[in-house]
């Protein structure tokens, strides 16, 4: 086994909490967290378990990062058009 696999396991174990959000709970909180973040607030203070779940769950983390990017572009008035997105596929 490579070093990275070993360390990955230990890092996940070290950040394990007794109580963690489920993926469904994470999905439900995600839009609120993203909106607060894009608005410049510090949602990790209000929703610390959300951030902890993202550290443990790669699929939820990928979803969060994508929604955050979309919301950020929208807030900045730089949303890509559907035509541009189609062309860039």
């Amino acid at each position: 086994m490579s070093v990275s696999k070993f360390e990955r396991l230990l890092r996940l174990a070290s950040r394990t909490q007794e109580q963690e959000l489920s993926c469904t709970e994470c999905f439900d909180v995600l839009p609120q967290y993203v909106d607060l973040e894009v608005a410049g607030a510090a949602p990790e203070r209000e929703l610390p378990l959300f951030r902890q779940h993202l550290e443990q769950c790669a699929v939820c983390r990928e979803e969060y990062e994508t929604v955050r990017e979309l919301a950020r572009l929208e807030a900045e008035g730089r949303s890509p058009s559907i035509d541009d997105l189609r062309r860039s596929l």
Partner: protein, 225 residues
Amino acid sequence: MAVTASMQGTTMAQRTNVEWLTALGDGDDAALADLRTYVLRAALFTLQRARHHVGHLGTSALGQLAEDCAQESLAAILQRLGTFRGESQFTTWAYTFAVNMALLAARRERWASVSLDHILDGSETPSSTSGGHDATLDPERRALQAEAVAAIRDAIEHHLTARQKQLLRAVVFEQVPLDEVVRHWGSNRNALYKLLHDARRKLKSHLHARGFDVEEILDLFGARA
């Protein structure tokens, strides 16, 4: 509903959350068309961003995948309209569905040709670390490292269930997306996340019982978390 936004060269109404809910609840065609545009954009954006999953697909296949995801998300959003609590913008809530659907589809495409059975039924467990083969280390540190590795192997081999070992191997070691194991086992994301959570807790607790703190082990190998 006064300000307008342009997307795909068309003009769309900017709605408040209440306006979205009312219009969609009333089956307003313009609101439905606008929502479809939002979710299609989110699906296209997601697939464009997820090239590491879908790089092997052509433009036409990706476009069709985005359309399918948009359609599925639209149906899911309309079905769950009553659960929207207004704690975010309606459009951010809607994006979450489209991104979720598009990433599920992208991961499915990426892993379709991979044998998960082969990964799940492997037998690899931790055996080496960044400092494990360093001959310059003092004997005491080397002995501690060996003891820590043995404790981790023992925890995995003897204290986790067969299912937990398989899941750990696939998701943590081989980085298979949780969704793909969900699909393979016919389970759901919450159940498998809980299985992994329990495995991590057992591992941590077993190491603690053997006198190790996980942070200290990482320190021991020069890989502080």
